[in-house]
């Protein structure tokens, strides 16, 4: 029993790292553009399918394939922003942007059904075989989870460095704090917004690759993903990157532990935690101040 528990915790932390990566994209987009990208879930699935296609058809290694899929998803993000999101300026903007991204999600989901059908697929990687696993503290962990975790941490650190060590990052943070003041001091807010949206979408390529290599998925899996991601970013406090990281690892670990006893109900952990937190602390665990004070 205790062994299962430890295994669940280790799994939870490793998988949580991947979710943290996807959630950072979502919360970054929220922080800068003040919108929730409902399409994030299905974009992860799109990333998973891209890696799947590159791997099964062209036999490109999953991690090397990211060199193709990450820029592709970045461009897709910039295009979505330029085509649909940039134009929304109205009093009902909150609702509008949600609905627009929801509509984009529907179109991508439909296109994925069209191309790949409804049968769930999984990327069968060489990293996935039982022989490819390492022993850490008496637990067997597949290489893929280790590599994936390292990749996720590396990307999150890279985003952090981008935000806090570069000029562009300073512009992004300024826009997050106060858009009109940022405009006044000469920041091109539109360009910052487009690039941020691109980065937020680009991380789904990496997240999707790892998701697709560790789960069976079809186009419909996007709903499950987005509901988890939304719970995570709200729990962490919308716009807070540190909050998203903490909430992702915490929630996935909790879910993984609850799965031992109640596999069918484990997903409810997310929503119940979400509702509890909002009743007690509507701004989320770390709120928005985490970004400001950092």
């Amino acid at each position: 029993m205790a062994r299962e528990l430890y295994q669940a915790i280790v799994d939870g932390i490793l998988v949580g790292g991947v979710y943290a990566l996807m959630a950072v994209g979502l919360t970054l987009i929220f922080g800068v553009l003040d919108i929730i990208n409902i399409a994030q879930g299905v974009l992860v699935i799109l990333g998973a399918y891209l890696s799947y296609t590159l791997f099964t058809d062209l036999h490109i290694d999953l991690f090397i394939g990211l060199l193709i899929t990450v820029p592709a998803m970045f461009i897709l993000g910039v295009v979505i922003h330029a085509a649909f999101i940039r134009w929304l300026r109205d009093t009902e903007r909150t609702a509008m942007t949600l609905l627009v991204t929801y509509a984009v999600a529907l179109i991508i989901e439909g296109a994925l059904y069209w191309k790949y059908g409804a049968n769930p697929v999984q990327v069968n990687t060489p990293y996935d075989s039982p022989s490819e696993s390492v022993r850490v503290f008496g637990f067997y962990i597949q290489d893929l989870y280790i590599y994936g975790f390292i990749l996720a941490v590396a990307l999150v650190v890279a985003i952090y460095a981008l935000l806090f060590r570069t000029r562009f990052g300073r512009a992004v943070r300024a826009t997050m704090l106060d858009e009109s003041s940022a405009r006044l001091v000469g920041i091109e807010v539109n360009r910052v917004a487009a690039l941020t949206f691109g980065i937020g979408v680009a991380v789904t390529a990496a997240g999707g690759m790892l998701y697709g290599a560790t789960n069976a998925f079809n186009a419909n899996s996007g709903y499950d993903l987005i509901s988890r991601l939304l719970a995570i970013v709200i729990l962490g406090g919308l716009g807070s990157i540190g909050g998203a990281l903490a909430a992702a690892v915490f929630m996935i670990t909790l879910e993984s532990v609850v799965t031992i006893w109640q596999p069918n109900w484990a997903i409810l952990v997310f929503y119940v935690a979400l509702i509890l937190v909002l009743l007690l602390r509507p701004q989320g665990m770390l709120g928005r101040k985490a970004v400001r004070s950092a």
Partner: protein, 352 residues
């Protein structure tokens, strides 16, 4: 005066058309469209009652719809109610809907904007998970309704009239709310909740009341939908596409107006049903639904009714000085809510 006559005349013609519809088109395939159209007119109007007036976008209307369907099925099978007696259970279904809406509101209405929308999505998924996993909801199999021994040929017609009655009733409620102090308070909340609160609007109570009305109507029509189709599964009763379709209808027709959601439902529902028959693959209608949605929001963000109303007003006032236009607009009474009543108007201020 002439405007009023024209408006009520048009309304009467529309009602007569709606009532005569199954007499003219007796083909069950056609009346089926009618039943679904009326169901969706009801749901879209009920959604608009709360979300359109208060500005809190609800992306979990299926919570009420599916709960209504399940509640009717469970009560009918638990108490062995059959035949037309099943309709007598509808008030109880509405009561359950009210309870769910009350709890929903108590939890979700503490937060605003994005967070509220996300909470509604979360609650929606909680309900779907429950429907999948509870023993009494029979998992993926769902529930079957009691048998209704109506003749095959005329089966749709009574359902059409029931749904039509619900649709007209909902529109009437929407109209009454719009003209009441309650409606004014709701719209004040939409425009500026903090200021409305400062002026003495009991915002939380008003929002919950609107949500409960919306939930009661939606759960009852959900029960009718279930009895019409004779079955409900978790993925049909609690369908994320349903949530989005309702919102699309309201936005297409005109978010926050009375006629908007009705028009939107009458366009979108027959359109998607027809598409699903033409192309057997669900994904095509999904892509088209998403595409239409994008076009509507980008080109006509306020919806058909407000945009068309503006056009007509421009045409009628062409060549006249602008000042007169500005004065004549409020005199038309039922003009679209632009510009909205300032929350500081006397009516709101007196509502303590």
């Amino acid at each position: 005066m002439r405007d009023a006559i024209i408006r009520y005349g048009l309304l009467a013609v529309l009602v007569i058309c709606a009532v005569a519809f199954p007499k003219v088109f007796t083909n069950p395939a056609v009346t089926n469209y009618g039943v679904f159209a009326m169901i969706y007119v009801t749901v879209a109007s009920a959604w608009n009652l709360f979300s359109g007036n208060s500005g809190y976008i609800m992306l979990g209307q299926a919570v009420f719809y599916g709960s209504g369907a399940y509640a009717l099925g469970l009560m009918a099978s638990g108490w062995n109610v059959t035949g037309t007696m099943v309709f007598a259970l509808l008030p109880l279904v509405g009561l359950i809907g009210a309870g769910i809406a009350l709890v929903f509101g108590l939890i979700a209405l503490h937060v605003r904007r994005h967070t509220f929308i996300v909470i509604t999505i979360a609650v929606f998924f909680i309900f779907q998970t429950m429907a999948f996993n509870f023993g009494f909801t029979h998992g993926t199999q769902g529930l079957n309704s009691p048998f209704l021994n109506w003749p095959e040929s005329g089966y749709n017609t009574p359902f059409y009239y029931i749904a039509l009655a619900f649709a007209i009733g909902t529109i009437a409620i929407a109209w009454l709310i719009r003209r009441s102090r309650f409606g004014l308070q709701l719209r004040a909340i939409r425009d500026d909740e903090d200021r409305a609160r400062g002026l003495g609007v009991k915002a939380f109570r008003v929002k919950i009341a609107a949500l409960v009305i919306s939930g009661v109507i939606t759960s009852m029509i959900g029960g009718i939908w279930f009895y019409y189709l004779n079955q409900v599964q978790p993925q049909t009763g609690f369908d994320p596409l349903f949530d989005l379709t309702i919102v699309l209808m309201a936005f297409l027709g005109g978010y926050g107006t009375i006629a908007g959601p009705v028009l939107g439902a009458l366009i979108v529902e027959p359109g998607t049903t027809w598409l699903n028959i033409q192309v057997s693959n669900g994904y095509v209608s999904e892509i088209i639904l998403g595409g239409v949605f994008l076009v509507v929001i980008l080109l006509m963000p306020r919806g058909i009714i407000p945009t068309a109303g503006e056009r007509i007003r421009k045409l009628r006032t062409r060549g006249r000085p602008a000042v007169i236009t500005a004065v004549s607009v409020p005199a038309r009474g039922d003009a679209p809510p632009q510009p909205p009543e300032p929350p500081g108007s006397e009516k709101v201020g007196a509502a303590q």
